[in-house]
Structures are given as C-alpha cells and as structure tokens.
Symmetry: C2
C-alpha cells in the first residue's frame, strides 16, 4: 500500500475549549494490516464534545491523547483490506479509527457494523452510534420515565438530546427542552416533539422554569451541568432522577467550579443522580440500533446531521460545537481521490 | 383523666442549630382518646438530628412544626387507654407521640410495635427504630455493597453509622469511618468493627483519605455533607454509590452553601448518588427489626444508647447532639410519678 495517510495529530493541549490551532497535519504512508487486523478507509469522522476531555489533562474516562498522536475519534470506515476472518472487504464499520484517511484496526477498536440497509452509513456515527444509543439507554435505564411524568433535556436540540426528546414523547411523557438559540427552540418544537422549549440565554429564573415545567421535573437528562443545571435542580420532583450524560456547559474542571450544594435536596426529595457512559454498554448496541432503525425508517424518529466536507475541517468543526454552532450531529466527510459515499 | 400533660412546645425557630431556649414548657390537662384512638403514656423520647429540619423553614421532608405546638418527636410509649380494636392496654408502641407525657394517637401515628422480648423497650427508638432500619435499608438497598468493597461511613460512631459499620463488616467489606473525636475513633475500632477510623478534625487532605481508604471507596454512607463529603468524593471508585442519609455537618441550607461541582466525577466515574428517607419504607420495619434483633440477641450487633432522664432535658439534649456530644442514640427517659421502665 503506497497511498499517503493524511493524519490530524494533537499539536498541543487546549487551555479551555479546543481551537483548530491545537491540531496539525502529519502525513505518513498508509499502514498495512497485520495478522487478525483490517485496513479501514475512513468515510465519516465524528466530532464529539467528549473529545475535549480526551485532549485535556485531569479526571477523565480514558488516557489522554498524547501530543503528536492522531486525534482519537469515532469514525465510519469501509474495510479496504482484511487479514481477519471476522470482517470482509467492503463492509462498513463504526469504531475508533481516528482523524485520518486510513486506520489499521483489530477487533477491540470496532464498536458496531454499519448496515447500509438501515440508511446512509453516516447514521452509523450518530443515530445508530453513541448519540442514539446513549439517548435510548441513558433515558430508559437511568431516567426510567413513566407516562405522564415530565422529562427535561438540556442541549435539547443536540445529537443526543434531540433523540431523548423524541423517545420521551414516545413514552408518553411531557417533554421540555433547554437549548441555546431561538432557532433551536423552534426546531425542538417543530421537529423533535418537545411540548415546550426555552432558550437558556434568555434567563432561567424560577418563573421561567415554572413556566417551562409547571408540574416540576421527574427526569432531568443533563448534558450541560453548570448554571443551567443549577437552575433546574430546585424544580426536581420527589423521587426525581438526574441522568448525567455530559457536562458541556463547563469549560474547565481543574479545579472543579463551585455550585450550590445538593445533598439536602437529594435527601429531602429522595433524588437519584447517576452518571451514564455509553462505553459501559457496548453489548447493547445491536439491539438498540435495530429498534432505532425501525422507528427512523417508519418516519417517526428524525435525526439531523451537520456534515462538513474535508479531513482538514475536523479541528475547526470540533471548536465550533463548543460555540453551539452545530445543528445536529456534527461530522466530517472525508473526500478521497476515488469516490465518496 | 385528670392528670397533667407536661408538654414541650416550640417557642421560636432557631437561627442555626437548635438551642434549649427555642423551646418552653406548656402544661395542659391530659387528653382523652376518641373513637378508634388510643392514649399513650410516653416512656422514651427520641432526640434526632432531623428535628432541626422540622423546626426550620425551607426545603424539608414535612411541614414545619408550628410555633406553640408540641415538639414533633418519635417516642416509645405504653398504651394507657384504648378505644381501638388494634391496640391493647399495656403494649408498647413506637411512633409520633411528641415531647410530652401523654399523647392521643390514631393508627397513622404508630410506626411499629415494640416487643419487650427483643430487649429493653428503649431499643424501639434506636436499633429497632429509624436508626437501625435506616442503616440496614440505606446500606443494602442503595449502597448495595459487595464483599471486598470499601465502605466509608461519616458520623461513623452515631446511632445510624455505628450500625452501618457493623452491617458492612458483616457483609465482608473493608469498613472505614469518619468521626469527630479520638474517643469515637477508638470506639469505632474497638466496638463497631471498623477496620480504620479517622477523626475528621485532624484534617482530611488527600494523604489522610488515601491512608484511610487505600483502595478508594465503593460505598459512601454519608450522614454529614459539608467539607467532610467534599474530602471524600474525589476518592470514590468507578461505579461507586453515595447514600445520602443526612446532612449533619451543614447548619443552614437557605441559601445552599457552595461546594465543588460533582457532575464531572459523577460522569467519569459513573457514580450513583441517592437520597434515602426511612419514612418511605415503613412496610419494611417488622422484617428488618426481626433480623436486627436476632443479631443483637446473639451478641454480634452492638448498639449504644445515650439516655438522659427527665422530660425537661429534651431541648438541651437536642442542642447537644449538634455539638457531637452524644455517645450513641440520644434519647430522654420520662420519669412519671408512678414508675419508669
């Protein structure tokens, strides 16, 4: 294999949110698979808020990406060469393939097969990837909403939140959303089935929260943390559940910023607060994806993709999601010399 | 019934922790039971940290005690007269009978029958009352410790904590305790089966916590909140559980004091934090009490009572528990003209 492998590597760690300048190109010859491995040609690269954590020091899920290494990323790629009995040339896979053209991978790097019969393979990064499966499992396993309860979603129009909103509505809940622009409020109401939505930049005092959730909140699906969460917690109902799925509203956790203590409300209202991390649930992917695909294909579950074109756009795309500029699951499509999907 | 009913009523609300001066005596003629009711003669009055909440304004479990009303309290009393088919004269009951000599009660005020065959009836307020049942259910239902895990208990030598420590040890856990004096540290180690215990007044930096819990913490049974909790949380292990059972270290929640945000550690370590309130679990009392009584009577579960004598000591006894002066379950024995148990 004599092709060039364009790679985007970490140049230096960001001080707060990532900027495009934290990364640089470092091209190398394309690698070759060893015994049991496959060569993937990437088609779609995922742009995820969690990537900030992977390049920051401090408490996190995983080892940080080393300076000089290819940026860690989920991707959808096609098998270009195989020395594994498990994967065939031409099939699409979803996994840890990095911000690069080509990736040599073994079985542990593969999360799921992407089925073109279920829709565009880009959905493998979003609705059928960690976004959709997180929404489904975080809501049903930790939030456990019952019909008639109120579910509030922060980042309500995001890749995860938009699916949470639709699933909660499907479960018979009253669904409210917090999002960061009036446009997204309209999108929540018109497309994602929210009964009510609010632009948190317009203020989150008690009157605004009471208007948004007049019956209080039984399940808070929180992707935000920060002052958004602080405004929500006092409105939790007895035996409410808070799903901590992300912390997008807080730029730096070292040291952890201060917030009003919650032990008393935890106790008096018998709340349950639990962190959810999708990579604890890899065995659930096939069944959840099959369910999400049925709903998507029958037209009752919408999902928006925000796709930029060109590998070199990945760093700026990551920076943009922290400014709230994306309108759906952010990803980058790689244009190869030959063809793009 | 012409007897006098000595009553201790709320005179005015405390600014912070309660003081004896927040209460006053207001004697009245003893009441008479109506149809379906019983007349109880109190023998033991419970002195509980939760009583602070019942006389404070702000977020709480229940309606606050009104100024001028008898102080709300759990008590063990004997049925002195009955107009109920359910209760017989002479039997001992545990329930909401207040800081007074006599109480007219209906079925909703009764929590459990107290069985003299299981030990002194004072145990009905403590080991066989909300302390012991809270320890058992909070630990097993929310903490869910597994053998080999580390359980940390704040207020480790208290009425609840001392039982939690012994139960966790019985379940095969490594058990560590935080308590407020060197004497109580010795008591934890010598009597309650803790593997390690620390006086939090000697400092709770990371080195001290690592020495106390070298394998990290899987279950944190928290009765304290405040800076004690803040020192503990960073040492929680992956998938750790925090049982919020009390908030004794925080005097005022209006407004809630500030603390380091926990959303990030909730997420990265997939923690579960849950409030536990014993009055949600009244139907569990008989079975749990029977289990605790078997262990207590075989001598493998110890319980200390700190009993003051005389109704008028109740206000000062309540103030004392917030200074950490009690050595076990605090209660007041009422001396009647006739006899005391």
């Amino acid at each position: 294999m004599s092709a060039v492998n364009r790679r985007i590597v970490l140049d230096h760690r960001p001080a707060g949110t990532p900027e495009a300048g934290n990364f640089r190109r470092d091209d190398q010859p394309a690698p070759e698979p060893g015994e049991g491995q496959i060569l993937l040609r990437n088609h779609y690269l995922s742009i995820d808020p969690a990537q900030r954590g992977w390049i920051s020091p401090g408490v996190n899920f995983a080892e940080p990406v080393a300076v000089g290494d290819v940026m860690r990323s989920l991707a959808v790629g096609a098998v270009a060469a195989t020395r594994s009995a498990k994967y065939s040339v031409g099939e699409y896979l979803y996994g840890w393939f990095g911000w690069q053209d080509y990736c040599v991978a073994g079985e542990p790097q593969v999360i799921a097969r992407v089925q073109p019969a279920q829709g565009p393979v880009s959905l493998g990064l979003g609705l059928y990837g960690i976004s959709g499966v997180t929404a489904y499992l975080g809501l049903t396993e930790i939030g456990r909403p019952r019909a008639g309860e109120t579910v509030l979603v922060s980042t309500a129009a995001g890749a995860v939140g938009s699916v949470v909103g639709q699933l909660a509505r499907r479960l018979g809940c009253r669904v409210a959303g917090l999002t960061g622009s009036d446009d997204k409020v309209r999108q929540c109401l018109a497309e994602y089935g929210y009964h009510a939505a609010l632009n948190y930049r317009s203020g989150l005092d008690a009157a605004a929260m009471n208007a948004l959730c007049p019956q209080g909140i039984d399940v808070f699906f929180d992707n935000a943390s920060g002052e958004i969460a602080d405004a929500v917690w006092p409105h939790m109902n007895l035996r409410g559940r808070v799903v901590q799925c992300g912390t997008a509203a807080v730029a730096c956790w070292d040291p952890a910023p201060l917030a009003p203590r919650r032990e008393r409300i935890m106790l008096t209202r018998r709340l349950r607060h639990e962190g959810f991390m999708i990579f604890d649930h890899l065995e659930r992917f096939p069944a959840v994806i099959a369910q999400l695909a049925r709903w998507h294909q029958e037209g009752t579950l919408v999902f928006h993709e925000d796709i930029e074109t060109g590998l070199d756009r990945a760093p700026a795309a990551l920076a943009a999601i922290f400014r709230g500029e994306n309108r759906g699951k952010k990803m980058v499509r790689i244009t190869h010399g030959t063809r793009a999907l």
